[in-house]
């Protein structure tokens, strides 16, 4: 405990370090007071049409099943359809119906929509032969806001990794690492102290951000806390790995960069584009942040179906990484001593 106090004293002078942990909190405040963002557009099909081409009835039909963007000319419509960032389907009038334009590079789902839309349009007036039961989502969801919150929280947890690795590398560069070797302190307790710093920082930062962004119900608090603890622990452990294996600041920074990509990009890409049933989806669990990210998204949506699974995955990551680290690194350190 005494030693941890010295470590804290050491970072107290580094204002920018403290700022790093505060940063997600600041973003959390911004998100908290940001008006609800409309993200529904992402999960809705987008259609494009040319001004004054479609009838009013067709327009309102298209608007009832997706988002419709109007373009001035057919050329601009084709450009819009061809934009690689979107999966827009162009809709044009044809005798007694509609026809569609695709760019040819769409996902399977949108390709099928494009191919079958004219027939669905023709069938729109048929009498419904089915009764419909649509169970609503438990809460009204604002997915973009959720995505931002989850990203900010994952970043907050990630800060422990950055902090730890930078702290260790700069100690190496300043020569403190050599001084540490002759101090009467075991490698294990040194590592535990370092681990504790990033871990505590990550937890505090993530919890404050979570408190600001999420209106937590009582039942959500403990799973959220568990998620944060496990992820912050993994992040701070990864930070120790980087700190140990990087010879200089530059190597460390590049490693942090790679880890940052692995932490933030896969969960978002998988979440946005891959269906949960897909065979590729479980691959994303190889990255510990994915489980944390999905867990957060689920909590935000007021569900907890797979939360147990995510917590187990995070625990497995935590245990495996801890074993690996203490066998390889700390073991080697105590042998030398």
């Amino acid at each position: 405990m005494e030693q941890l106090k010295y470590q804290l004293k050491n970072i107290r002078r580094d204002k920018l370090c403290i700022l790093t942990f505060l940063l997600p909190v600041i973003v959390g405040i911004i998100i908290r007071f940001l008006p609800a963002m409309n993200f529904l557009g992402l999960s809705e099909t987008s259609f494009g049409c040319v001004q004054n081409d479609l009838s009013k009835e067709t327009i309102s039909w298209l608007q009832s099943i997706g988002n419709l963007t109007e373009y001035e000319t057919i050329e601009t419509l084709k450009e819009g359809v061809n934009n690689p960032s979107t999966q827009m389907i162009g809709v044009l009038r044809r005798k007694n119906g509609i026809r569609t334009i695709l760019s040819g590079d769409e996902f399977e789902l949108y390709e099928t929509i494009g191919k079958t839309l004219p027939q669905l349009y023709d069938m729109r007036a048929d009498q419904p032969a089915f009764s419909k039961t649509i169970s609503p989502v438990s809460e009204k969801s604002d997915k973009l806001k959720f995505l931002f919150i989850a990203m900010t929280l994952v970043t907050a947890m990630f800060m422990g990794c950055t902090f730890n690795s930078m702290n260790m590398i700069s100690e190496k560069e300043e020569g403190t690492a050599f001084v540490n070797q002759i101090l009467p302190m075991s490698m294990r307790s040194y590592l535990l102290q370092k681990l504790a710093l990033g871990f505590l920082g990550g937890i505090v930062s993530a919890m404050v951000t979570a408190f600001l962004c999420i209106q937590t119900a009582a039942w959500q608090t403990s799973p959220l806390f568990l998620l944060v603890i496990l992820s912050a622990y993994i992040a701070s452990l990864v930070g120790l790995f980087i700190g140990h294996f990087s010879s200089g600041l530059m190597t460390g920074m590049v490693c942090i960069k790679i880890i940052m990509i692995l932490f933030l990009a896969p969960p978002i890409i998988f979440y946005l584009t891959v269906s949960t049933d897909s065979a590729v989806y479980p691959l994303s669990y190889l990255f510990p942040s994915s489980a944390a990210f999905y867990g957060l998204m689920e909590l935000l949506a007021g569900q907890m179906e797979n939360l147990g699974l995510y917590l187990v995955i995070l625990s497995i990551h935590a245990v495996l990484l801890t074993c690996l680290y203490f066998f390889i690194v700390a073991g080697k350190g105590s042998n030398r001593r």
């Binding site: 973003v27 529904l40 809705e44 099943i65 590079d105 399977e108 069938m123 609503p136 200089g248 890409i269």
Partner: protein
């Protein structure tokens, strides 16, 4: 002057070699390529599946989109992904059962699709206006995104780390009395990073877009890569001289990387557009890079003008600040 310049160049390359810069760039290249080739190209959004529970065999529809469920419970479980559609023929009238996806319009479409699948659904051939298939698009898109991230990161960080090392070694102080101009000092660093970035661009594009396809787009891509590399290196140089140590710099960088480039990526990946993005300088650089990968006329004349002006201003600023720093160091 030029003899001095070649020595400076040699020194910078050596510094980068000793900092394992090239090795790390190679590792990044391998990481990105593996991700693109093994994971990203397989990413797809599948069709809505329709699950049919029909114990009395009332429905004769045959379609590749229909899966049979053997009980109501199985139907419910299959629909729990909030995407699949269940049709229960044991009820009268038959019931469409689904969990809301959260988007009302999508739900309406799903219900309509579920009904339509049970009728004879014919697929029309729509007009195709694009020139790429899905895999080509995915490859180009993600390569553009990774390259953008890598260039803004490596140029910015790499130059700064070299400069911080030199600062520690007292190189800036020695430069104050050497007969080498400040501009040459900066230029040699810029040249080394520009070259390494351009080589990285070529390799990343060749590996992930394919050699024959990349030949047509490489000139435009290299132009954008050059602009980005110069701007980011100079920004890195300025920050490295102004901030006191590398730790502070790296944290500042992290903030920049996460919070400045995330909106750009989100907009790039999803097509969401915000008005304020027009004022985000990275957004324009990113759009130009992406257009270059898709073989479109990359950017307008004012864009290049602004880029050149930005590079000139940054270069002037770097010279000025370096001179001030050298004077301060005595």
């Amino acid at each position: 002057m030029w003899k001095g310049f070649s020595h400076l160049l040699k020194k910078d390359v050596k510094m980068m070699l000793s900092g394992k810069f090239f090795l790390l760039a190679l590792l990044s290249l391998i990481l990105y390529s593996c991700y693109i080739n093994f994971i990203y190209v397989n990413v797809d959004q599948e069709n809505c599946r329709v699950y049919l529970y029909d114990p009395n065999n009332l429905c004769s529809a045959q379609s590749k989109y229909i899966n049979r469920a053997h009980s109501r419970q199985e139907l419910k479980t299959a629909c729990s992904d909030r995407f699949s559609i269940g049709i229960d023929f044991s009820a009268d009238p038959p019931e469409i059962y689904m969990l809301s996806s959260g988007a009302e319009k999508t739900d309406r479409y799903r219900a309509m699709w579920g009904e339509a699948v049970l009728t004879e659904l014919t697929e029309e051939k729509p007009e195709i206006v694009g020139s790429y298939v899905k895999e080509e698009r995915s490859r180009r898109e993600i390569t553009a995104e990774f390259l953008f991230f890598e260039l803004s990161a490596v140029g910015f960080l790499g130059l700064a780390s070299v400069l911080f090392k030199e600062k520690q070694m007292g190189v800036i102080r020695v430069h104050g009395i050497l007969p080498v101009s400040k501009a040459a000092f900066i230029l040699s660093k810029l040249c080394v990073f520009l070259w390494s970035d351009l080589i990285f661009t070529c390799l990343l594009t060749w590996i992930n877009v394919g050699i024959s396809d990349s030949l047509t787009i490489l000139p435009a891509v290299l132009t954008q890569a050059g602009i980005l590399s110069l701007i980011m290196s100079l920004t890195g140089f300025l920050c490295a001289v102004l901030l006191s140590d590398f730790k502070q710099f790296s944290l500042f960088y992290l903030i920049l990387a996460v919070f400045a480039s995330t909106p750009v990526f989100l907009a790039g990946q999803t097509g969401v557009s915000w008005k304020w993005l027009a004022w985000h300088p990275m957004h324009h650089l990113f759009t130009a890079m992406k257009s270059a990968y898709f073989g479109k006329t990359a950017a307008s004349f004012p864009y290049y003008l602004v880029c050149i002006a930005a590079i000139a201003i940054l270069f002037y600023g770097a010279c000025h600040i370096l001179a001030r720093e050298a004077a301060k160091e005595g």
